[in-house]
Amino acid sequence: MVQIKAMEPQYAAYLHDESRLMGSARYIAFPDSLSEVVEAVRWCGDRGVPLTAQGSRTGLSGGASPAGGLILNLSRMDRILGIRKDEAGNCYLRVQPGLPLLRLRNALKNKAFDISGWSEKDIEVLRELKAGEWVFPPDPTEPTASIGGMAACNACGARSFLYGSIRAHVTELVVVLADGRTARLRRGSERARGRQVRIPLREGGVFEATLPEFDTPTVKNAGFYIHGDMELIDLFMGSQGTLGIIGELELKLMRAPGHLWGVTAFLPGDEAALSYVEALKDMAHKPAAIEFFGHRALAMVERQRTLTPAFARLQELPEDYGCAVYVEFNDEDNSAMLHDLEELAGLLKQVGADPGDTWVARDQEELEKLLIFRHAVPETIDLIVEKNKKREPIITILSTDMSVDDGHFRELFRMYKEDLSASGLDWVIFGHIGENHVHPNILARTADEYRAGLALFEKWAGEVRRMGGTITAEHGVGKIKKRLEHILYGAEKMGELALLKRSFDPLGLLGPGNIIPKEGEDGCASTRA
C-alpha cells in the first residue's frame, strides 16, 4: 500500500528542482513499485488531486517543482530489475525510473548488481557479463539525474553529438496513464497511424487519441515530440509527466568504447572557437562531444577556486586564455589518438591558437579531470543563483538551451553575445556547441535583472523561431520555458498541444503547469514565481 503523507516542513527540499523554482504541495508519496505508483495515481484521480512526478530533482526547467496537490517522488524506485540479451547479442537492462544515472554507470563498470528478485534467466545473462563491457551512453552533466527524469525531459548531455539523446537508447516504457491504467510501449511495435494514436492497455482495451497536425522541430528538441507515424514510446519522452508517469524503462546498452580521450583547447577568442568547432565537425573521425566554455565562464570558475575547497583541485588555467573548446573521442582502441592529435594541432594553428595551450586527457582517468572541470561551471552557477535567491526569492536559474541548425549557429551565437554585452547583466556562456546549443546563463542579482533576463530569452525565442530552431534542446519546457514555447509555436499550435494533453488527462491532474499553461495562465510561471 502506498503511503500518502501530508506535506510537512521536513519535505521542504521536495518543493523545487535544480531550477530553484519553488512549488507547493499538500501531499507527498514515495512509492517503491509500479503498483504503488498506480495506487497513487488512482488516489489522485478519485479526489481530483493533481500530481507531479519527481526523480532526483536535478532538472533545470522546473518540471519537478510541484504545482499543488501530490508530489510523487520516485527516488525509492531505484532498482535494476533485470537484464536480457537479444539474438544479435545486444544487451538491455530493465530499470525503475528513480535509478540515478551514476548508480547505473557504477553497476555496469564494476558489475555491481543487487540481483535479489531476479529471474534465473536474467542471472544467467548477468553471469556472462564482464565488468566495464557495456555502457549507457546518455551523459547529462548532472550524473545524479534519475533515468526516469532523463527520459521525461529527453535529456542528452555532451556525448549526444555522437550518440543522440536518451530517446535513442530507451527501448521500452511502462507508463501509468491519468486514470491508473498502464501501457507497455516497445520501440518498433506501437506506432501512430498518421496522426491516430491507439495504445493497447495492459488491463485490456485500447486508449485512443489524435496527434496535433504539426510536427515538432527536427533539431534536437526536449519538448513534446510530435510526428506523423511516430513511435508512441516517444510521446512520453519530452512530455515531462503531462501525458503519463514513466513507471519502468528498458535501456539499450552499448559496448563500451575501448578508449575514451579528449582535449580542452584554449583559444584566443570566440570567433576562433567557432571556426575550430566547425573544423571539428568536419573531421573524418567524428567526435563524441564538442563543448564550449566562454571567457566569462572560465573566469567565474577561476574566481570560485578560492571559495570552494573542491575547486582548488582543478588545474590552473593558462595565462591569457580567451575561451576554451573541449572535444572528446570514443574509440575502440588507442590507435587513432596520435594521428588525431596531430590533426587537432593543425586545426588549432589554423585559427591562431597554440597547441601547447591544451589539456589532453589520454584515458578515462584523465578524462575525469576534464569532466570535473566541465561540471564546475554549472556547479558554480548553482552556488551563485542560490546566493542571489536568498536576497531576492523571485530568482531562479536563467539558463537557455535553444538550438538551431549548423547554418544559423554563428548568427545565434553573435546575437547572444551582442545582447548580453549590451544588457549590463551578469552572464556566462558554455555548453554543447557541437549540436549548436550553448547555454547562455544570466546570473540575475535583482528582480529587475531577472525580468530583463527573461525578456532577452523571449526575444531570442522569436529569433530562434525565425531560424527554424527550438527553444529547448535538452532541459525540457517544464514550467520556466512555457512562454518561450508559446513564442516558438504560436497560439494555434499550443492549442493543439493542449487538446492532446486533455485527451490523455481530461482532469488536468498530471504534471500541472508543465509545458501546457494552466487555465488563465499566460505561459510563463517564472515571472510570477
Binding site: 563498470k109 564494476n110 558489475k111 555491481a112 548488481f113 543487487d114 540481483i115 542471472i123 548477468l126 553471469r127 564482464k130 565488468a131 566495464g132 582535449v263 583547447a265 582548488a312 583541485r313 582543478l314 588545474q315 590552473e316 596520435l338 592529435l341 596531430e342 587537432l344 594541432a345 588549432l348 597547441p355 601547447g356 595551450d357 591544451t358 589539456w359 589532453v360 586527457a361 589520454r362 582517468e365 584523465e366 579531470k369 576534464l370
Partner: protein
Amino acid sequence: MRIYACVKQVPANNETRLDPVTGTLIREGSPGVLNPLDAYAVEQALRLKEQYGGEVSALSMGVPGVRDMLRRVVALGVDRGILLTDRAFAGSDTLATARVLAAAVNKCGMPDLVLCGRVASDGDTAQVGPMLAECLGIPHVSDVACIEEIARGEARVRRLGDRGYHSLRVRLPALFTVLKEICVPRLPSITGVLRGEKAAIAVWGRADLGSLEGGVGLKGSNTRVLRSHRPDLRVKTRAVAGARDLMDILREENLIAEDRVRGDI
C-alpha cells in the same frame, strides 16, 4: 637545477570488486598507471624547473612496459625518462628497490633534488623514498606539503607531522617525499603528448648500473611479506567541559605558544 622524480607503475584500480553471481574477484579493467601520488612529485619537479630553470628526469624501476608510462610522464614536460628493468630486479623489496634507484642516480650524477610521491598505492609502505636517501647519503624530508624557497644551496620546506606542520631548512642535495596538497598535477598538452611519443626512453639493466652492494631482486631482499592487515588506528578521545579545559589541554600538550594566548576566554 637538476631534479629526479621517482615514479612507479601501479594497477589502475585498487578497489576490490566481487562478481555478484560467482562471488569471485573481478580483475578486468585494471591496467597499469602512474602511481597517483607520484604525479605530484612530477608536477612539483616541473614547477621548480619552471621557477629556477634546469632539467627534470623521471626514474622508474619496473617491467619493460613501464616505458609507455615514462613516455606519458615525458609528455608532461619532463626532459628524459629512464627505465630500470632487468629480470634480476624482480621481487625486490623496498630496500633492494632503493639500491637500484640509488645506483641509477649515482650513474647520472647527484642531482640537486630527488622527489618521490609519499607512498605507492599498491605496496603502501612509504619506505622507498627515505631508503633511497639513505643509500645516496643525502638528507630527506618526508610528507612535504610545500617547498617554500630554494636558495643558496638550501631548501625551506613545510612538512606535515602528526601534530601539525613543521618548517624545515634542508641542505641540498636532498630527497623529499611529497603530499597531495603540494600542487595540482597538470594534464599534458598536445605538443607534449606528441613529444613524449617520440622521446627516447633510456633503458638500463643490472649490467648498466655497476656493482649493487647488498644485492637486488628476491635474493637481495631481506624482508618477506608474511601477512597484510589494517593498522589499528584507534585514537584516544576525551570530552572536555568547555573552552577553558580545552585550552588547558592544548597548553599541557604544548600545542599552543603561551604568548599567543591573550586575555580571558
